[in-house]
């Protein structure tokens, strides 16, 4: 808590947050798979003026092995200034790191020393299970009234439904499941909201039983993965509408609602289409009170010789783009799209949300392309988690998706973090002077000092 004034990283609006100073540190979740070492959070120097720029300054290792760190987030953000539930003297201080396999939450204190951050509390799986009825913890969002966390599984051995629960702002106690009426929702993946409209949006991946031991292609062919969006009354915690994108659109993942709280549109990525292995981006929007979604970006699969493909892709003779993460700049202008399969990172101008315009593309790794970094380092894996600085000028991308799936698409994956510089009027390029080699550990989500483009919610336009 701050004693006198609000945390200086809180901004009333996204537009104003773009004036924030550049980040000096980044926190990167990393996995260790099969080597007996724990996962953790790496602190990376992002300050070009620093002597240790582009180096890992510290690794905060977890006390357990096999957690599967995935997404994580700050305890508090600009939503604390929301007038309906103002908590203006919260402090952006703790990183909450849910674990996807073991269902814990590590609470990491980044003060007083942001580099020597340390674990100060562990919320264990039993507390989450007994108070909220969930497991396989996934994403964190800082709300104005509580910390929201979602989970992909129930407490019934790898089945659903997945859902959302809340943590107390101050002591991180589990407050309970968020949903009062979940309607037909069963599968879970991501969640976020239109905070100015009291609307929650959730997406669908799979039950833990379907993903934990690796991707079973049969599940895609038989269209067993999630293919819908769910809209909820954020305030009354009730399901209001399902928008089905069609069963051929398998795995509906990252949700990026417009940062401007007056708007009612957003973007979601679909990993693959069962008819042609393409990926797609859909724009959701509200029309006369109804939520609708329209496919606005189509990214085709790239044909490839089966000899150059990993076993899982040999039957298809093609590399699917596998859009697994997208991110929207704070001015709601640029959407970045990670094609983890083909190894491409795309930038679209989405000023007109129903008519995105491709404004840039770079290649990094890829199943067959194997594009090297401009500094000459060969890359395997492909762009996956993507994060944008608040001013929209820098983009960071890592290459690990999920332990067992990494092994299927990129056997022997070696981790990296790459930085790209974006031009104000569109287009972007890989920064040749920045490269963090994670070796045989696998980096996933990046969180930037002071906030980034997928953390804060704003109640003012």
């Amino acid at each position: 808590m701050t004693l006198l004034r609000p945390d200086s990283t809180f901004y009333p609006s996204a537009r104003q947050a773009m004036q924030a100073p550049p980040e000096r540190f980044g926190y990167v979740g990393f996995l260790n798979v099969g080597n007996g070492k724990p996962d953790g959070i790496a602190v990376v120097d992002l300050d070009p003026a620093s002597a240790t720029y582009s180096q890992i300054l510290n690794k905060i290792e977890f006390p357990h092995v096999g957690d599967e760190v995935h997404h994580f987030g700050w305890n508090a953000c600009s939503s604390a200034l929301c007038p309906s539930s103002a908590h203006p003297h919260l402090e952006r201080r703790y990183l909450l790191v849910p674990t996807l396999r073991t269902s814990r939450i590590y609470v990491i204190d980044t003060k007083p020393d942001p580099i020597q951050a340390r674990i100060v509390k562990i919320v264990d799986a039993d507390e989450v299970a007994s108070r909220a009825g969930y497991s396989r913890l996934h994403t964190v969002h800082c709300g104005p009234d509580a910390i929201y966390v979602n989970a992909l599984g129930g407490t019934n051995d790898g089945q659903g439904p997945g859902g959302i629960f809340m943590l107390d702002h101050y002591n991180f106690d589990v407050l309970g499941a968020w949903e009062i009426d979940r309607g037909p929702q069963h599968l879970a993946y991501d969640f976020w909201w239109h905070i100015g409209h009291d609307v929650m949006v959730t997406s669908e991946w799979a039950t833990p039983a379907m993903f934990e031991n690796g991707l079973n292609v049969e599940d895609i062919v038989n269209q067993r993965f999630g293919h819908a969006l769910h809209f909820w009354d954020l305030r009354r915690r009730r399901h209001i509408q399902t928008v089905d994108l069609g069963a051929e659109n398998q795995m509906v993942l990252e949700l990026r609602p417009a940062h401007n709280p007056n708007k009612t549109y957003g973007f979601v990525g679909v990993v693959t289409n069962t008819t042609d292995l393409s990926s797609s981006i859909w724009t959701w929007y509200q029309e006369q009170g109804e939520w609708k979604a329209k496919k606005t970006i189509h990214i085709p699969a790239e044909p490839a010789d089966a000899d150059h493909l990993p076993d899982i892709l040999k039957p298809f003779g093609a590399v699917p783009p596998l859009v697994t993460d997208i991110d929207l700049s704070l001015d709601d202008r640029y959407l970045y799209v990670s094609c983890w399969g083909t190894g491409e990172l795309r930038q679209y101008d989405v000023s007109d949300p129903l008519n995105p315009r491709l404004t840039g593309s770079v290649r990094l790794g890829g199943v067959t392309a194997k594009a090297a970094h401009p500094n000459g380092t060969p890359l395997n894996g492909g762009p996956q988690m993507v994060e944008i600085s608040r001013d929209g000028k820098r983009v960071y991308v890592t290459n690990s998706l999920y332990s067992t799936w990494d092994d299927q698409f990129y056997p022997g994956l070696r981790g990296w973090l790459v930085k790209l510089n974006a031009n104000a009027e569109g287009g972007f390029a890989i920064d040749p002077d920045f490269f963090v080699d994670f070796g045989d550990t696998r980096p996933h989500q990046v969180r930037l000092e002071g906030g980034d483009a997928s953390t804060d919610s704003y109640c003012f336009s």
Binding site: M1, T2, L3, L4, R5, P6, S8, F10, Y11, P12, S13, Q16, L81, C82, P83, S84, S85, A86, H87, P88, H89, L90, D145, A146, Y170, I195, G196, H197, D198, L234, R235, P261, N262, C459, F460, S461
Partner: protein, 218 residues
């Protein structure tokens, strides 16, 4: 009981000013209403929405103060004034200590899309949970004891309702001025530096008022 007087003494005038002053103070706190009104104006892209929202916020706040007033008016029938004053002072001190320990906790009820009646309900909840009525109670007890403003003869009840009105008008006026200045002149970035910890100041104020009331009562 004091003998009836025909002109407001300085201390009596002081009581009315204190009630108006509490109104100004409650009006200043962004968490009490004006910021919500401002957000509605920005959301609806309509300055009128700001002013319209201030009315239910003031009504909700007035209802919370009026509730406190009704309670003290009712208790006055059964409890000796001095005992009531002492009890109010002790409650204020106890609540002040509680708020000092929990200043960062706030009610969680609404979202950003609320109807005007809900906005009044929210304002009532915020004022009540933060002890706005309790803070005004010693002054309300004070005005029961005296004649009306300007020497007019008033019953204790009429004085109390006048007090609630003065308090609310002061709050409404303050909210309107602040909202206007922030909306038209300063811009929302002022929140980053100007949103001082009203909650902590509030708890200290509760203790301060409780202390004064206690000393006055004994």
């Amino acid at each position: 009981m004091h003998p009836p007087t025909h002109t407001a003494s300085p201390s009596e005038l002081g009581l009315w000013l204190i009630l108006a002053g509490f109104g100004v103070y409650h009006g200043l706190n962004p968490a009490m209403g004006w910021l919500f009104a401002l957000a509605r104006g920005l959301q609806q892209e309509n300055p009128r929405a700001v002013w319209i929202a201030l009315v239910p916020i003031a009504i909700g706040h007035a209802a919370s103060i009026a509730l406190a007033a009704m309670i003290v008016l009712a208790l006055k029938e059964f409890i000796a004034m001095n005992t009531l004053q002492t009890a109010t002072a002790l409650m204020l001190i106890a609540f002040g200590v509680y708020k000092l320990m929990n200043w960062y906790r706030h009610p969680r009820w609404v979202g950003m899309r609320v109807s005007l009646p809900e906005l009044a309900g929210w304002s009532f909840l915020m004022a009540t949970a933060h002890g706005a009525g309790l803070m005004a109670a010693p002054a309300l007890l004070g005005v029961m004891e005296m004649d009306g403003l300007g020497g007019m003869s008033h019953s204790a009840g009429a004085n109390v309702w006048l007090a609630v009105s003065i308090h609310t008008l002061a709050m409404l006026l303050t909210m309107a001025i602040i909202a206007w200045v922030v909306y038209r002149r300063l811009g929302l970035m002022v929140l980053r530096t100007g949103w001082v910890n009203f909650d902590l100041i509030w708890s200290v104020a509760l203790l301060f008022v409780g202390g004064i009331a206690f000393v006055t009562a004994i």
